[in-house]
Symmetry: C2
Subunit: 333 residues, 2 copies
C-alpha cells in the first residue's frame, strides 16, 4: 500500500484537520464528531441540509459544504457509515428552526444510522427531520451493503438542487420534495479499471486482471454486473449509457450529464468519455442542457468513471444554475 498518510487509523481525522487548516474562512470542523459545517450555520429560518457517509469519496460530501449546497457533511471512517451521534451533532449544528433535511445514499448502515439520528433529533432537540434516500445506480438491484439500488453520482445533483432551494428560503416539505424529484429523475452507472485500497485494510478491495474492467462497480468496490475485457472509450461509454437509457425515457428531454472520475483516472480520459457519452445521448434524442466533467464522487484512487444523467425540467435547471460556493463546486455568484 502506497499512501501519503501517517497512520491508517487516523486518516479521516487528520484529513479533517488539514481541511480545517486550509479553509478556515469557508468551513468550521467539529473534529470530535467529524462534521464539516458552513461558517454561518445555523441560519435562523433556513432549512438545514446535511449529508454524509463513509469517507474516501471526496470531494463528496465535505467539499460540497457551502452557500447553495450543504450546510454540513458528516464523515464516517473510510467506506463506513457515520454513527448516529455524529449525525445528530450535524443535525443540531444546522438547525435554524425550520427543520433539517437528511440526504442519505442508499446503503443499509447509512439508512439505519440516519433514521436513528432523526429519531434522536426529534426526541432530544424537537427538530423536525425529513430524510430522502438516493438510489440512482442502475447497475444492480441489491448489493453487498444495500437493499435496493445504491446511491452514487446523483448525490451531487440532489445536494446541488436541494441546497439551492433551501438557500432560497423554501420550507422543509418543498426542499424534501425537490430532492425526491431529483432522485426519481436521475440514473447512474459506473465502471472500474482498477481496485482501490482502504487504508485500514492495507490491500486492494478486489482483484482485476490486466485486460479487465468491472462494469457496474459500486463506489466501495462492490461487485457490478459483469467483468468484461476493457474496451475502447466508445465501447465503455456505450455500456454505461445503454442501461441508463433503458431504465428511464430521456428522449426529447433536457438532461444534466455528469462524467465522474473515480479518483485515479486523468481528466483527459474523462473528457474522451464525455465526448462518447454526449454523442450517444444526442443520438438517442436527449438534449444535453448542462454538464460536469471531473472527480466528484470518488473511490479513493480507483481508476474508472461513472455516468449520471438527470432528466431536468425548467425548475430543476433553474436550481442547477443558482449560485453555489463550496470548496469543490462553485459557479455564478
Amino acid at each position: 500500500m502506497k499512501k501519503l498518510i501517517n497512520d491508517p487509523g487516523q486518516v479521516v481525522v487528520e484529513a479533517l484537520e488539514g481541511l480545517a487548516l486550509a479553509h478556515p474562512d469557508s468551513v468550521r470542523v467539529d473534529l470530535e464528531n467529524r462534521v464539516v459545517v458552513r461558517t454561518d450555520a445555523p441560519r435562523p429560518g433556513k432549512v438545514g441540509v446535511i449529508s454524509g457517509g463513509g469517507s474516501g469519496h471526496e470531494p463528496l460530501h465535505s467539499g460540497f459544504v457551502g452557500v447553495g449546497m450543504l450546510d454540513a457533511a458528516v464523515c464516517g471512517e473510510v467506506f463506513t457509515s457515520p454513527v448516529p451521534d455524529q449525525l445528530l451533532a450535524a443535525t443540531q449544528a444546522v438547525d435554524g428552526g425550520a427543520g433539517v433535511l437528511h440526504l442519505v445514499k442508499n446503503y443499509t448502515g447509512d439508512v439505519m444510522n440516519f433514521e436513528m439520528a432523526a429519531e434522536l433529533a426529534a426526541e432530544m432537540l424537537g427538530t423536525r427531520v425529513e430524510a430522502v434516500v438516493i438510489d440512482d445506480d442502475v447497475a444492480v438491484q441489491d448489493s453487498l451493503y444495500t437493499a435496493g439500488r445504491r446511491g452514487v453520482g446523483a448525490t451531487v445533483f440532489v445536494e446541488k438542487i436541494a441546497g439551492a432551494l433551501a438557500e432560497s428560503g423554501a420550507d422543509l416539505d418543498a426542499v424534501a420534495a425537490i430532492a425526491r424529484k431529483v432522485v426519481a429523475e436521475s440514473r447512474s452507472m459506473g465502471v472500474a479499471l482498477t481496485s482501490c485500497t482502504v487504508p485500514a485494510a492495507g490491500k486492494p478491495t478486489f482483484e482485476l486482471g490486466e485486460g479487465e474492467m468491472e462494469l457496474g462497480i459500486g463506489i466501495h468496490g462492490e461487485p457490478g454486473r459483469e467483468r468484461l475485457p476493457l474496451g475502447t472509450a466508445a465501447e465503455v461509454a456505450g455500456r454505461l449509457v445503454e442501461p441508463i437509457l433503458a431504465d428511464l425515457d430521456f428522449t426529447g428531454r433536457d438532461a444534466v450529464v455528469m462524467v465522474n472520475g473515480m479518483g485515479g483516472t486523468p481528466l483527459i480520459e474523462l473528457y474522451i468519455v464525455y465526448r462518447e457519452v454526449a454523442r450517444l445521448l444526442e443520438g438517442a434524442g436527449v438534449r444535453i442542457a448542462r454538464s460536469l466533467v471531473g472527480n466528484y464522487v470518488t473511490s479513493l484512487e480507483m481508476a474508472g468513471c461513472s455516468v449520471s444523467v438527470l432528466r431536468a425540467d425548467d425548475e430543476l435547471l433553474a436550481l442547477w444554475d443558482a449560485p453555489v460556493d463550496t470548496l469543490s463546486l462553485r459557479w455564478g455568484a
Copy 2:
C-alpha cells in the same frame, strides 16, 4: 496499459472535442491548432495571456482559460511541446491590440517553440509579445528536458495573478512584470509514489519499487533528487518543505500555499499532507495567507504530490483574491 481512450494517437484531440462539447458557453476550441480560447477573445485593448505545453497535466492549462486567468491554452501531444504554428494561432486569437504575454514553463522545447512563435507573431502579425519563463522547481538544477530549473506548480500562481492584472486593464509591461515577480517569489518541490503511463508509449515511464518514492520528481516523470523509502505523510512533507525554505526566506512573510495532487492521489491524502505542510510552515514562522488543495498540475495518473509556496505581498494577495471564473478554478465574482 488501462486507459479510457479510443486510440493512443488521438487522445489529445478527442479530449479537446469532449471539452468543446461539455463547455460551449465557456470556451471555444480550435481543433486544428488544439487551442482552447475564451469565448470573448480577443478583447480590444486587453493584454492577451496565453500558456501551453504538453498535455497530460490537466486541468493545467486548458482548465484555467476564462475570466481573470488565461485567454487561451495551447495543447501539445502528451508531455510534448506544442509547435510554433499552434502557439502563433493562439497568440493571434487573443491579440486585442495591447500585446500578448506568453507564460512558458521552463522546458527546452517549450522555450524554443514559444520564442519562435513570438518572432513569427511580430513579423507576420505585428503583435508585441513578452515571454515569462517559469522555473520554480527547487528539486534539480538541470533535468532531462530542461536547462535550469523546471517549471511546475507555480504556473498556477503565475497564470492566476498575471491573468487578474491583465483583466484589470494593465498594459503588457506591467502584466509581464507581475508574472516575473510571481516566478521570483515562488518555489516548488514534488514527490512520486508511482509512475504514469504515456498513452503512446503504452508502458510506465519509470519503475519504482513497492516501498519507494522518487523525491523531486518532474511532472513528466523526470528523475528527481533521490529515491527513498516511502515515509509517513509527515516525513514526506518535511522532505518537500525543507528544500523550499532553504531556497528562499519565507520567515515572517505571508504565503500562498498549494498542495497539488499528481493525478492518482486521493483528496483525503492531499489534506493530510496539507496538515503537515501547514504545521511545518507555521513552525518556521511563515504566515499562510491563502491555500489551495487539489489536482491542479497533474502527471496523468501518477500518485504523488507537490508543494508550492509563493511569498506574497499585499499586491499579490489582492490579485490572488480577484474574481476568477474558469472551468477548474473559480472564486469570487
